[in-house]
Symmetry: C2
Subunit: 306 residues, 2 copies
């Protein structure tokens, strides 16, 4: 299962009751943060979390509202005496941008590892967590920008008949069920598929912000259990502004959610001019029913079926 917390729902600038859009994802003891704007560390603390155990920070792009909180976040991690390295993932330019921002955070008691996204078909996994795949994909903003899909794979059910038919000793069963490939004492290589049924439906969480709608987004978020998507504007007359600034209206987000057949969509990254996002929800839900106009701190736990 995956814990999800949308720390903020604002775009452009942080406001007293709306922090900047950023997502905290937790799986199997690991914490992944997507985007880190001014105030994200406050939102994190408000939710009762500490920045110290964050393993990875992924950036969609380098507009200030998505990265301006990084120097403070790094220093707060440092003040908490973190020593474990921190992995940063983002579009090309990552190291250059982070090093510039570290002019005001030069000394840290931990290492920073940089992973600059190279193409559009990369998958990032963390050590000992191959079943959790982070997949960045290009979106369409006025600078290079990525969305992120996170897939948690689920192995098939254990199939005793198959295990017996393949003559697999019982002592290997539990390791195989966890996905391990085993060199058996008799010299055979035993793979999990020799004891498992067909792979079951896993979990899929997608995060997309600062973009116009694209076919590639629809493809990448297809069938997601939770699609977190920008909705910069709700007002009908803001479509021109959305096109000009390379953002989306609620209705464009909803059209994508519908086409992609996702389970649920959470809107976020509201324009500061959008005072009451809920006002535009009925019209949005006519396009895609399972739309939520998120508020800061919205959380859920994604669980496997059954």
């Amino acid at each position: 299962m995956i814990d999800v917390c949308l720390l903020g729902t604002g775009g452009m600038m942080p406001m007293p009751n709306r922090y900047l859009t950023a997502l905290l994802v937790r799986y199997n003891g690991k914490s992944i943060l997507i985007d880190c704007g001014e105030g994200t560390q406050i939102a994190l603390r408000k939710g009762g979390w500490s920045p110290k155990p964050i393993d990875v920070i992924c950036f969609t792009h380098y507009h200030a509202d998505h990265i301006s909180g990084l120097p403070g976040m790094l220093l707060t991690m440092g003040n908490a005496e973190r020593t474990e390295p921190l992995l940063l993932v983002g579009p090309k330019g990552l190291e250059r941008v982070v090093k510039a921002l570290r002019t005001i955070a030069p000394e840290l008691p931990f290492e920073i590892e940089y992973h600059e996204i190279q193409g559009d078909d990369e998958e990032i996994t963390l050590p000992d967590m191959k079943e959790f795949r982070i997949k960045p994909f290009k979106v369409n903003h006025n600078i290079l920008c990525y969305g992120y899909s996170m897939h948690l794979d689920r192995v098939g059910k254990f199939d005793v008949e198959r295990a017996k038919a393949n003559n697999i000793e019982m002592k290997y069963w539990s390791r195989l069920q966890k996905g391990e490939i085993i060199e058996a004492e008799d010299g055979r290589t035993i793979t999990p598929d020799m004891v498992l049924g067909e792979q079951r439906k896993g979990l899929h969480l997608a995060y997309v912000t600062d973009t116009r709608p694209t076919d590639s987004i629809v493809e990448n978020v297809s069938g997601a259990d939770l699609f977190i998507c920008e909705g910069m504007y709700g007002e009908d007359d803001k479509i021109e502004k959305a096109v000009k600034n390379k953002h989306m209206t609620f209705y464009e987000a909803a059209e994508m959610a519908k086409r992609a057949g996702v389970e649920q969509m959470w809107l976020t990254h509201y324009s500061p001019s959008l005072v009451n996002p809920k006002e535009f929800l009925p019209k949005t839900q006519k396009i895609f029913k399972n739309t939520i106009a998120s508020k800061d701190g919205r959380t859920t736990t994604l669980k496997f079926e059954e």
Copy 2:
């Protein structure tokens, strides 16, 4: 009169109920901000102000908790379609640090002017506001750091007898009272002192943070109407930490306030570990009675006597 708002009272990191220490000062339609940490723009908005009309931002030093909010503040000013130039004042390195931070805020619709403090006897004034003098002075932190005194001068009372004795025509009186020097029609140069009595007591506001106590601070804040001073620690056993990190305890701040003979002291820049600053107030007030343990958003208006 001078309006003063202490936007935040925290040190090191912003927290949900304690923004980073920064001061907004308003005089005669001009707004001056001292320090701009992560979240300062949120605190500003919380107080009902806009960042757009800020004329000057002064920095004490370049630790992140005093400048990390600058890129966001600049962009928010830009989004508000500000076109007037913005003056930044700070220790040496100002332009280098700001340019690095502007990696994520490269395009702004207004100019930035830099004023790097050169020595310890500079006075900065704004156009048409010679009576309001900003005076930076060095303090003792682990990097170059300045405190700021702001002096509002007050001219003497208008002295009709003196004006008449000096044979000054009535048509010049109001301009002279405002401090203007006049080339009269008869060729004479008429100066304000020819119609005014002795200069009266003005106003003095001082802001000092991130330092050990020093004689120079006492000298520079001497007789201030309001002395805003860091008090990083309240607990008795934190004195070693204060010495090591080049900060102050409440009691050290109070000793300075007493020596400097200020009217009132506001404590600020609390350590995140200091949950309830008021707890240590009675002991502090035994040293300097007129001490306030400030909360975020504390405001006052300093007024001339009488």
